[in-house]
């Protein structure tokens, strides 16, 4: 949980905006609309914070929940397809216990799948995902590989994890 003081929104947006954007994309919205929702999310949060209605800023959870709420509103107005709506949980503003457990189980499966990757893949993964400010470019510099190769490794790693997750879902 991260608590922000007023006046440091820029840092928060820089740090969490992509994650908020992804959470909207994951609902099936087009990129341009997802970006609008992400921007709206931050605007609303800033307004609420300025109005004093937010006692504590828990980021990025609060921003993600707010974004998903806006996205679902958008979807419920029929601007998106029914298929996507079916995948949207009913109460996106607060994580329910079942969702948390599901998420935790999925994370564990990802880690299990990651453990079966090559050391280089794990290292690239850690440098990109588990290092503050990690990017493929920085990982390439750290590992001593070309950026193209690092991007390739990331794609292969994702494919491997995706396959592992799919296999686990199929298995009883």
């Amino acid at each position: 949980m991260t608590t922000l003081q007023p006046g440091v929104w820029d840092d928060a947006i820089r740090q969490w905006d992509h994650r908020v954007y992804l959470s909207v994309l994951a609902l099936g919205l087009p990129p341009d609309r997802a970006r609008e929702i992400a921007q709206t999310t931050w605007t609303k949060l800033m307004e609420k914070h300025a109005a004093g209605t937010l006692r504590e800023l828990e980021l990025p959870g609060l921003a993600i929940r707010q974004a998903r709420f806006l996205a679902l509103n958008d979807l419920s107005r029929g601007k998106t397809e029914r298929r996507v709506l079916a995948a949207v949980p009913d109460e996106p503003t607060a994580p329910d216990l079942e969702r948390q457990l599901t998420s935790r189980a999925e994370v564990a499966r990802v880690l299990t799948a990651l453990a079966t990757c090559s050391p280089t893949a794990r290292r690239v993964f850690r440098l990109v995902y588990a290092t503050a400010g990690g990017t493929p470019a920085l990982a390439a510099e750290e590992v001593g590989l070309s950026l193209q190769r690092v991007r390739q490794i990331l794609c292969e790693t994702r494919a491997h994890i995706r396959k592992q997750l799919a296999d686990q879902e199929v298995a009883p």
């Binding site: 992509h18 994650r19 992804l22 959470s23 994309l25 994951a26 609902l27 099936g28 087009p30 990129p31 341009d32 397809e81 298929r83 996507v84 998420s103 935790r104 999925e106 994370v107 564990a108 990802v110 880690l111 990651l114 453990a115 050391p119 794990r122 290292r123 993964f125 850690r126 990109v128 995902y129 588990a130 290092t131 990017t135 493929p136 991007r151 990331l154 794609c155 994702r158 494919a159 994890i161 995706r162």
Partner: protein, 850 residues
């Protein structure tokens, strides 16, 4: 419109924010392509999942293995790297080796720190623990902007799992040696680096007790983004006086040689800084460019070259005394000359680039973060003082280190060079064949004579061989006899007898050859001399090869010592063979030893621009000098220096109120002295060379005046000791006086007193031209002592006249008049006689051993 199918990888990269194509175009197509948008949603979901997993998972900062999700993951199961020691979250591993690791970690506040971990192969001893605590204690006390701030010290685990941690401020910088690929250091930069590091060293040396870093090297000098230098890694640091010097720590090549033996002082870090600067300038490791004694070519200005050369002088006394002095020297760079003492190119520690010693030494430098090294073997290597040379200069005189000066004022004022004492011809006693030492008959410092068996090699196999060879000889001898008998009865041919004879000769030769080998196992000294160093002990192999020693011992004749110096070519004009020189040691500067130049090398040292000059010391006055001692040599002219006479007490004079009537036309001086002796009741010893004649008629004259006048007329004098006057030439007597004083000084340094003969009966003596041995034995018999006379006391006669002369005074006077002396042993009342020089030499050698 782009009709290419959008790939999943593109969408994956897009969600990662790593898509390198036209993102706007991709987004436009996604708005139109439902399938692609659904795929994008999956990838976005996966991306979020991966980010959650990355946040939830614990990765090893060293090997990137995933740490099992246990409650207290201590360290990685794959590589052993710590995960979160002491609450510090490890971010990465900078260095890892068998001794531990250096991590970059974050503390609870998110501040990045450098976290050093010390590990132990075995359970840490109390000494290790004490060393760690001591290091932490004084590191905590350091406060300097160029030194990383100490944060915490703690330990985790138990037994072999014990790990010690030191947390320090993380210095964001680049090691100076890591910039070689992208940067060439300029002279200005080097001076700046030197100044910054010296400021730190001045701070460390200003603490009480002084802190010595002991591992200054480019890797431990970090350049921050603002150009400031930070000195890091105090893992090898040393608080002066807190640890024994049995273990050496440091990095080979950067540390001075004495650090190998655990000896460090205020010059140690200055040397390492100099070596580091040379490394930065030349881009070559110091051990490649710094010979054991000197600095190789460095392309910098003469002033900086001189500064560096003084920093890396092999002898601590030739370096800047401390960091403050070095900093002052740096500040004055180009303003005042740096006194340079070029050092002699002589291998120390017997390390040579071509020998195996360097690789061994390198292997021994087991480093933790490039620091820790244990080179206990090296500290036992002999460390010969390095020769150095300097020209005597007036204060402030400029020293041009770039080449020999065309003018050589030193040649006229006398060249002073520093060097060291060496045996004239030291011998390493080796063996022809490989074997092991069975017995050692001598030890360091023992005197040996030519032919003396000093060691015996194992000969068990040779003894077995000779038994076989003897058996074979007996066998073939019997066969020969048999053939000879058979031949006598024509039962054997002549050829058969000759063949048997040949077999006997071969067998005998084999026996002889083995006998020679057995004889060769008895190692004899080829010279008279002193054992300088025993190189091998019983049980050790003494043949060239792995695990063996190349020699048994070093022997040298210490009665002949040489002062070896390197003289700059420019000063060589003032030096010639047979020239006299004065040699002084650090401990004895007031009374120089006399030497003469005997050898000037025909080859100059091209690198140093010097020539080896060897001055042989006067054998009669080299007491107290030992091979390896550092000395100063002042080269003089062709004439010996006026000898500074020691403070010799004024000789006692004989006085008498008696009067003697001397009336003689012409008579021998000896007879005249005998007459005075008898007429004036003066006991007297007259040497046999007093043969001149005198002619005079003096009438009645005082005895003492007559005695002294006649002696003076023949350039003679006397010494009156113990009631007896000993006559001799003035020079001879003066020399005796000086040597007596020197003898007393030697005895005093040995803590002994002058040996006196026991008191005893008096004698009435009237021996003229008496055989010396017989006279000495006669006197000894009266004194009830046993006289041991050397063979050379055979010829010669003595004249001694006097009544009531104490026997001991008579014996001493007779001996002294023949340049002899004695040593008395109360046990057995033995009086051993020898020449004065011979006996004094024994005491000089005793002083050497002492």
């Amino acid at each position: 419109m782009n009709t290419d199918k959008i790939s999943r990888d593109d969408l994956a990269l897009y969600t990662m924010g790593a898509y390198d194509g036209d993102a706007a175009a991709l987004e436009a197509r996604l708005g139109e392509d439902e399938g692609a948008r659904a795929m994008l949603a999956e990838e976005a979901e996966l991306e979020l999942l991966l980010r959650d997993a990355a946040a939830a998972g614990t990765f090893c900062a060293n090997c990137d293995d995933l740490i099992p999700d246990t409650k207290e993951p201590v360290r990685c199961g794959s590589c052993g790297a710590a995960i979160a020691p002491g609450g510090y979250t490890v971010e990465s591993v900078l260095v890892a080796n068998a001794h531990g690791r250096m991590y970059i970690a974050r503390d609870a506040d998110g501040t990045r720190v450098a976290l050093k971990e010390l590990a132990f192969v075995q359970s840490p001893s109390s000494d290790s623990l004490a060393a760690f605590e001591r290091e932490a204690k004084f590191l905590r006390a350091l406060a300097h902007s160029a030194i990383p701030r100490f944060r915490a010290a703690f330990e985790e685990g138990a037994g072999v799992h014990t790990r010690y941690y030191l947390a320090q401020e993380l210095v964001e910088g680049t090691p100076l040696d890591a910039r070689f690929d992208e940067h060439f250091y300029t002279e200005a930069e080097i001076i700046d680096i030197a100044r910054q590091v010296l400021v730190v060293l001045v701070y460390l040396q200003s603490l009480s007790p002084m802190v010595i870093h002991r591992d200054i090297k480019p890797a431990n000098l970090l350049r921050r983004a603002d150009g400031s230098i930070a000195v890091v890694d105090f893992g090898a640091a040393h608080v002066q006086g807190t640890t024994a010097g049995s273990t050496s720590i440091g990095t080979f090549g950067y540390m001075p040689l004495e650090q190998l033996a655990g000896q460090v002082d205020a010059t140690t870090d200055c040397y390492a800084l100099g070596a580091s600067l040379v490394h930065l300038l030349t881009r070559r490791e110091p051990w490649r460019i710094l010979t054991p004694t000197t600095l190789g070519p460095v392309n910098v200005s003469p002033a900086l070259n001189a500064f560096l050369q003084k920093l890396v002088s092999a002898e601590p006394k030739d370096r800047f005394a401390n960091a403050a002095a070095a900093l002052a020297g740096l500040d004055n760079l180009g303003k005042e000359p740096v006194a340079i003492i070029p050092t002699r190119k002589k291998p120390r520690l017997q390390l040579s680039m071509n020998s195996v010693a360097w690789p061994i030494a390198l292997v021994l430098v087991a480093a933790i973060f490039g620091t820790y090294a244990t080179m206990r073997s090296a500290m036992h290597q002999p460390v010969a003082p390095r020769a150095a040379i300097e020209t005597q200069r007036s204060p402030g005189e400029t020293v041009d280190t770039t080449g020999p000066s065309p003018a050589s004022p030193a040649a006229t004022r006398g060249v002073v060079a520093s060097g060291y004492i060496a045996a004239k011809a030291p011998i390493v006693l080796a063996v022809n064949a490989g074997s092991r030492i069975a017995k050692l008959n001598v030890e360091n410092g023992d005197r040996v004579t030519k032919g003396q068996i000093v060691a015996v090699l194992e000969d068990a196999s040779l003894q077995a061989d000779i038994e076989v060879a003897n058996a074979h000889l007996r066998d073939v001898s019997r066969a020969l006899q048999s053939k000879q008998h058979a031949r006598a009865i024509d039962a054997a041919t002549r050829a058969e007898v000759e063949s048997a004879t040949g077999a006997v000769e071969i067998a005998a030769a084999e026996v002889h050859a083995i006998s020679q080998k057995i004889e060769a196992t008895k190692i004899r000294s080829p010279v008279d001399g002193t054992v300088l160093e025993v190189l091998a002990r019983p049980g050790e192999a003494v043949a060239v090869g792995d695990g063996s020693t190349a020699g048994i011992m070093r022997i040298a004749d210490l009665s002949e010592l040489v002062a070896e110096t390197d003289v700059a070519e420019a000063d060589l004009k003032g030096i010639a063979v047979d020239q006299y020189a004065e040699v002084t040691t650090d401990s004895v500067r007031d009374t120089p030893y006399l030497a003469r130049v005997r050898e000037i090398s025909h080859m100059a040292d091209k690198a140093r621009g010097t020539v080896l000059v060897r001055a042989y010391l006067d054998t009669s006055s080299n007491a107290g000098l030992k091979p390896g001692m550092a000395v100063q040599v002042r080269f003089l002219g062709d004439a010996p220096p006026p000898r500074k006479a020691p403070d010799v007490p004024a000789p006692a004079r004989w006085t008498s109120d008696a009067v003697i009537d001397i009336r003689s036309e012409k008579m021998g001086l000896e007879q005249l002295l005998v007459d005075i002796s008898k007429g004036c009741k003066l006991a007297i010893v007259i040497p046999d060379y007093v043969k001149s004649t005198v002619g005079t008629t003096m009438g009645e004259v005082p005895c003492s005046s007559a005695f002294e006048t006649f002696l003076a007329s023949a350039s003679l004098d006397y010494r009156y000791e113990g009631g007896i006057a000993r006559v001799g030439t003035r020079h001879e007597l003066a020399q005796y006086d000086i040597e007596a004083v020197e003898h007393a000084a030697i005895l005093a340094r040995l803590g002994k007193k002058l040996e006196l003969l026991p008191a005893g009966p008096t004698m009435n003596l009237d021996y003229r031209g008496f055989p010396l041995p017989t006279l000495l034995q006669t006197i000894a018999k009266v004194g009830n002592v046993k006289l041991v006379l050397p063979d050379y006391v055979k010829g010669g006669t003595a004249t001694i006249i006097g009544n009531g002369v104490p026997w001991n005074a008579a014996l001493r006077a007779v001996l002294a008049s023949h340049d002899l002396d004695f040593r008395y042993t109360d046990n057995g009342r033995l009086v051993r006689v020898g020449t004065r020089h011979e006996l004094m030499q024994e005491e000089r050698e005793a002083l050497d051993s002492h």
